[in-house]
Symmetry: C2
Subunit: 387 residues, 2 copies
Amino acid sequence: MNAFELYNPTKLVFGAGKVQQLGQLVKPYGTRILLVYGGGSIKRSGLYDEVMAQLQTIGATVHELSGIEPNPRLSTVNKGIAICREAKIEFVLAVGGGSVLDAAKAIAAGALYEGDVWDFTVQKAVIQAALPIGTVLTLAATGSEMNGNAVISDWDNKLKRGLGSKLVYPKFSILDPKLTFTVPQDQTVNGIVDIMSHVFEQYFTHTQDIPLQSRFAESVLLTVIDNGEKALANGSDYEARANLLLAGTYALNGTLPIGIVSDWATHGIEHEVSAIYDIAHGAGLAIIFPNWMKHVYKEGVERFVQFATRVWGIDPTGKTDDEIALAGIEATRAYFTRIGAPATLGELGIGGDQLDRMAEEAVRFGPIGSFKKLNKDDVKAILQSSL
Amino acid sequence: MNAFELYNPTKLVFGAGKVQQLGQLVKPYGTRILLVYGGGSIKRSGLYDEVMAQLQTIGATVHELSGIEPNPRLSTVNKGIAICREAKIEFVLAVGGGSVLDAAKAIAAGALYEGDVWDFTVQKAVIQAALPIGTVLTLAATGSEMNGNAVISDWDNKLKRGLGSKLVYPKFSILDPKLTFTVPQDQTVNGIVDIMSHVFEQYFTHTQDIPLQSRFAESVLLTVIDNGEKALANGSDYEARANLLLAGTYALNGTLPIGIVSDWATHGIEHEVSAIYDIAHGAGLAIIFPNWMKHVYKEGVERFVQFATRVWGIDPTGKTDDEIALAGIEATRAYFTRIGAPATLGELGIGGDQLDRMAEEAVRFGPIGSFKKLNKDDVKAILQSSL
């Protein structure tokens, strides 16, 4: 195990009806609120009205930024920053899924920075201050509700980049499983894949002697695999939705990577695909991850054997390590297919004409990943096998 | 799963040599420090000198309270409170095991309270303010390094009680596995039992649909069982000590009980024993816990079947649920015995003459526990079977 720091000050408020605590949770931070949300789903579900009623209980002045895209755009973030400055916003409240939360984080950091918020994504500047943020989550997927990370896209230049800081941890996040009952089937699928992919990035590591972290990661995977299918079978299954929501938070709240070297190459590759084609992040990950696994498993087959046996229950009897590892990778693909996720870029109408550009962009700062350091040729091979 | 709140702002700084960051970690809180520690072990190990050197780098004025007992006493806590008031202490630094940390928490809360600090343990008052606390942990056991709880004893009246508040979470805790290399064998044993017992209290529950919490708890147990034996075989095994230390923290940092009803009856019973006989907490738990299990398992045998099969690898083939459950309980006792923990109160020279008094005290506020609500007769029966 390596040395590490663990610090996560977000307060998670979890359970049915917890939006009723929103007013009291926001109150300490001020009354000039920027409400950030996506499309009309929170209006159709009645959540918008409930949030506004809560903010009225504390006499808040609410400014709104709606229309956050599934891959939130720099231009939209900049609109939010302009509102914050003009209206002297004191608190940013994100109501929605991971994209909305990510946009809110970028807005909160950008509002107190004189330069271009994009600077934070290209290491031109470090976040020194941010407006406080709170969230009401409506989708189990990104883990953004309990971490200090965000991903935004510069659509004009077809770039998708991340920013991160302890200063943009949400002060609180309200997680009501009932708010996820109405999530459409395809978004539930993408969320499941996203959560599992977050775990994969922190599970396939060469760091030795990490029994607790390994088992925690396997715990999240086993919970998602089982409850994901239950949530897809019955969207209003409270317990399945609750377990999926909690697993999504733990997949990326800093618990899993303590003391280990994470990978994150597959996310890097997927970002290049969705930057150009604007596909759902989860769909891209479902396509690419098993191909990444096949490309890298020989670098540490014992880790993939553990994955196959503990997570997928592969019987090792009479099999070589390579066979066990490959059976685990096949089980991953089979699960993704069973829940309705795509297996090839072709299914999404994406051909091979941009492979070089994507591979080039993915390694623009040098090789990516750590389980196997991927150069441009590796990335291209993985994308090629994903067509 | 039930509704819950999760909030833990302690910063964990984990790894070899991390005491070198102590000065910088304390600095934001002030320079008038109360250093709280136990016996001479931190002087013999050189840790005391290292801590003092770190505090000198920030020009701190250090007052000392040493001699914290294994079951920290109210009278000692009151000495610390007096120093805090007199010397206008700004920060309480605990260097030691769980008892030292618990004493520091009680001191930090008592210092800013006009009444008797004991009031917090008997619900006569609620903690409204506390001095900030930091810790350097030297023993894997209580989890006190990352929670807001403390247990202190009123030795004159033979009472042992807990206090708790979000205000006494340590601001930071430094966990260096190397600092635990020199922990004597019996204290390592007690720590292992203590950690496992914390998990048991949060594992045996009737709350349904808690797959993630269950697997997290099993992860901690499996890690402790394996690494506990390794640490006992070789006290300087860094990885074993590191895994044990991390497991101890996760056993009681608020991760395991989210959304479930915990039990804590066995801790309540053990507190009555160690309040009278001043035995090590871990020793008392090792004796009592398997007997509690036998007394209650029929209330929810399926939970004990899961425990037996997943944690102890009991083969269920051809066995009834009761047999599987009992095999898991026997495996627990066998493990405790294998690592050298006591199995009976008799081994510690404790007879049956105080059973009534202990049972009476344990249920003074009504029945205890939740897996099975224990009345005085239940507690007495469990103690009787522990003689």
